[in-house]
Every structure is written in C-alpha cells, then in structure tokens.
C-alpha cells in the first residue's frame, strides 16, 4: 500500500477518532463533574450529607467502571440505538464512550475535590456562603489544576477505548489499525497509526500538564506538582511564577 493510498484513509479516520473522543470527553466532563462533586458532597460529614444517595451513586459508578469497555459497548447497544438510531458509526460510538468515561472522570473528580482544604469551605460558610457558592468559588477553582489533569487522563483513556469501539464498526484509527494492520498484514499502516496515536497522546498530555502547571504556579506551593519538584534541591519555592 502506498502513502497516497493510505493518506486519505488516515486523515479520515484520524478525524473520526478525534470526533468521537472530543464529544465523549465533553459529555464525560459535563456528566462526571457534577457526579464527582455529588460523591463528595453527599458523603458522611459532607455539605449535602445523604448516605443513601452516596451509596447509590457510588454503586452505579462502581458497576459501570467494573465492566470491561468492550462488554459495556455491547450491553449498551439497545440504548445506543434508542439515542442515535444506529449502533454503527462514530455517532453511535460516542454513547458508550461517554457512558464509560463519566464514572471514570467522576472518581477522578472526587479524589481531586477531596484534596481541597476543609478550612476553605469553613471560611466561605463563615461569610454566609451556601453550598452552591462553595462549589463554584471554592471546590472547583481550588481543585482546577487536578481537574485538568483528570480530564487529560480521561482523554487518553478515551482514545484507547475508541480503538475498541472501532471493532464494532465505529471507525477511527483503531479500526483502521485492526482492519489493515492485523487482518490484511499491512504492518506499515499499523506502525504509522501507532506513531500517530503516540504523537496525539503526547501532545494531549503535554497540553494538560502545561495547563495544570501554569494554574499551580499561580496558586503556589500546594498540590502535587510542586510537591514532587521539592525532590530536586535546585528548585526554590520562589522560582514559580
């Protein structure tokens, strides 16, 4: 297979992958952020303490997360058909991708939000702020660097899932790699796709890390990135900025 034959296929499927991953990330964030916040807020000693709700949400999240993605995809087929009218193609793949990623992102959000100092919550309560104010002005902005890292991890995981979605007719780079690289022994195609994925994932990881770090340096010494940097003796606390 020549490059001129591969090139249109690659650019088409690359676009399909980004389309699937982009939309499912968006849905995962829109769905997972409130879910993760609810996991924290409804927990014991939480601002909206509700043990029953917490158990239910936690259990649903666990069930979805415990399912291998390929099984989840098959299990959701009738739901997918109900939403999109089909189980084939990139639009149809977005449904299981998003549903798989929501609980994944929600758990990451939960961990990030739990890291926020309870004293800040208390401070806003003492000013007369309500729970919504605390969520908007404290929990989300204060955990934003971690939330961005979490979103980055979710995007990377979704790119992996999207390759699996390819096997059931969603298209995308993963599908291309399987069809040409595996079924037709076009190993150049497969290696080119591996290289493209590596570049895309590196770029996403770099962008996410950069965004998280620039928010951190503004906020200063709290959070994981600066703490790791303390291991290097040359890093003085004042150098960030």
């Amino acid at each position: 297979m020549t490059w001129s034959e591969m090139q249109p296929l690659l650019s088409q499927e690359c676009w399909n992958t980004l389309y699937m991953v982009g939309w499912s990330t968006l849905i995962a964030i829109v769905g997972g952020l409130p879910l993760g916040l609810l996991l924290v807020l409804t927990d014991r000693e939480g601002l909206l303490q509700n043990v029953v709700a917490n158990k239910v949400i936690g259990q649903v999240v666990n069930v979805v997360r415990s399912m291998p993605f390929i099984i989840l995809m098959v299990a959701l087929m009738s739901f997918t058909r109900w939403i999109t009218g089909t189980t084939l193609g990139r639009e149809a793949a977005i449904v299981p991708l998003a549903i798989g990623a929501i609980p994944f992102f929600a758990r990451l959000v939960e961990t990030a939000v739990r890291e926020v100092d309870g004293g800040l919550v208390e401070a806003v309560q003492s000013m007369g702020g309500n729970t919504w104010t605390i969520v908007r002005k404290v929990l989300v902005p204060e955990s934003l660097p971690s939330l961005i890292s979490s979103a980055t991890t979710t995007v990377v995981a979704l790119i992996g899932y999207s390759a699996m979605a390819g096997t059931v007719g969603a298209g995308g780079l993963g599908d291309l790699a399987i069809r040409y690289g595996y079924l037709r022994f076009e190993s150049e195609m497969m290696w080119i796709i591996v290289a493209i994925l590596a570049v895309v994932i590196s770029a996403i990881q770099f962008a996410g890390d950069y965004a998280a770090r620039s928010l951190h340096s503004r906020g200063g010494r709290s959070g994981p990135a600066p703490r790791l940097r303390l291991l290097k003796p040359a890093a003085a606390p004042g150098e960030t900025g």
Binding site: L48, G128, G129, P141, G220
Partner: protein, 358 residues
Amino acid sequence: MPAHSTVTETPVITTSGLTKVYRSRGREVTALDGVDLHVREGEVYGVIGQSGAGKSSLIRCVNLLERPTAGTVTVAGQDLTALAGRGPRASKELRRARSRIGMVFQHFNLLSSRTVQDNVELPLEILGKSGKERSRKALELLDLVGLADKAGAYPAQLSGGQKQRVGIARALAGDPKVLLSDEATSALDPETTRSILQLLRDLNRQLGLTVLLITHEMDVVKSVCDSAALMENGRIVESGTVTDLLATPGSELATALFPVTGEAAGADRTVVDVTFHGESATQPVISQLARTYNVDVSILGAAIDTVGGLQVGRMRIELPGRFEDNVVPIGFLREQGLQIDVVDNRAQAPALLKEDAK
C-alpha cells in the same frame, strides 16, 4: 480610662447553657458543657485554655459552624440558634447573620486560586455587591491592614503575617460588628504575632469592633484582651475583665497571666504575693513599707505589665520573720488597697502555670 473607651455594657455575644456533644462510633465526647459567655460591645475578649478544652468548639458555635447540642447563641441581639432551622444546612437567615460576623483562622484559609484582592472581594460577591463596589471596598480594606501594594499578589507569594492581614481584611469586608478569631496568631512567629495583635487592637479601637478570640497563649490575652475566660474540660472556670480577675483571690488565670516564682530563703521568713491593679500600682508602697516598719523587704520575683492600658501586676516579696511577726506590715499593705496573698512554703504552683513552664 481611655483604654476602655470603646467598651459599653451592651452585650454583643451571649451564649447560655451552650452544650456540644460529639457522637462517633457510639462514643460521646462533651466538648462544651453548659457554657455561659457574655461579651460586651467593643471589647476584646479572650478565651484561653489548653488544646481539647473546647475553645474551638465554642468559637465555631458562635456563628453556628458547629450546631450546639443545647443552649442558645445570641449575637448582636439576634438569636442565631433560633435562625438555624432543623436541618443540617444553614438557613438563609443564618447565612445572612453569618455575613455580619467576621472570622479569621489559624491557617488563614485564603483561596490559593485568587489574588489577594479577589480573596477580600469574596464575601462581597456572596453579598451580591457590584464589581465596582467590591473593588473599592477591597482596596480600602487592604489599605487599612497595610497591604495596599499586594492587591494583585497570590497568597502563596505572601508571608504568614501578610496572609493573616488578608484574612483580617476579608473578615471585615461585610462590615461586621463582631470578629471571631480562631487562634489567629498561633501559626505566626512572636514578632508577627505582636503586629497582628496590634492590628486587631487598632481595629477594635477605630471601628468599635468587638473581638472574641480564642488562644492557648497567655501573652495574647495579656497584650490585647479587656476580658478573659479560662476554659477547662468544656467549661468556663473563670471569667471577667482582666483587672477584676487579678483582684480575685486565688484566680488561676491571674496567676498564669502574672506568674511570680521564688521560694523563701529559710523557715523563718514570710513570703507574700502582692497584686497591683488600678491606682495602687502608681504608689511606691514597697519603699513606704520598708521605711515605716523598718523591715528588710526582698523582692523574689515580679511580673508587671500593661493590661488593657492599665498598669497591673504581681510581686512576690519576702519579709524577715514568721507570719505571726509580720501581721502589722501585711496589714499596712492591705490598707494601701493591695491584694495580699501569703504564700505557703509548701504550696504548689497552679496547674496552668506549670503547663506554661514546660
């Protein structure tokens, strides 16, 4: 007495029968056990006690960050416990009342994602003020606490003392009548502590702000408080104005505020603790005593300080001869309006004092 000019007899914070019981895993811990606190308008009131005495629970009950198990809290004439409602969440009325009570914290609790100015604006955002009004007020308050040039900095770029100044500016944003200070200086070095306490004192004078502070440091009470209360095991065991406490025989708080030590040189000596407060502090009584009765007075120790603008203190002196021989000189000292405690040689120092000496 100019030092007390801001204090009136109007009670601003009153708690009665305040009780807080924590339940966890079937165990009950009583943090507050029927606390009656009366803070007058315009005073700086210090609650002192060791960790675990219930100070933190007490100050958190005043703005109902902690719901008391029983008892009432009244701040500026408003019964907050009645506003609270039944559920665990704060009612709108309670939140409104809280916005009129400032609070500063030991660990400052500034939002790291916001600049200094935005931190000070936060309570104003909650109050729904316009952007222009918020920034005007925030800059005015930052100027008041001496940080006008740091408005654009992030908290991580500030020192501990500066962070606490931001915390104080933020607490004042809602024009509160009352400021609660939860160990505000405990994370600061001694010099910074002094400057923060001075700031609180200035704000108390300038704005007529009533300050309720909790601390485990005697020096804090000594340098800024008009009144003080000693907490032990969830109860207030002593309370009153610092001068009244000093005048109370056997007051543990007074002894701890003005620790005097020293033992008799021999069995045939009498050791006497003399407490000065108010007018008597200005009289040269000790030299009068020596001249009038021709006794050799030895000063074993003394702690004299300015408390709330008044010279007060204690001195431990030694007189030759047994107590029976010194009835007349001691009577003379009592006549001068001084409070006299004859120290038993075997007497133990009070518990609080021993704790301080560690």
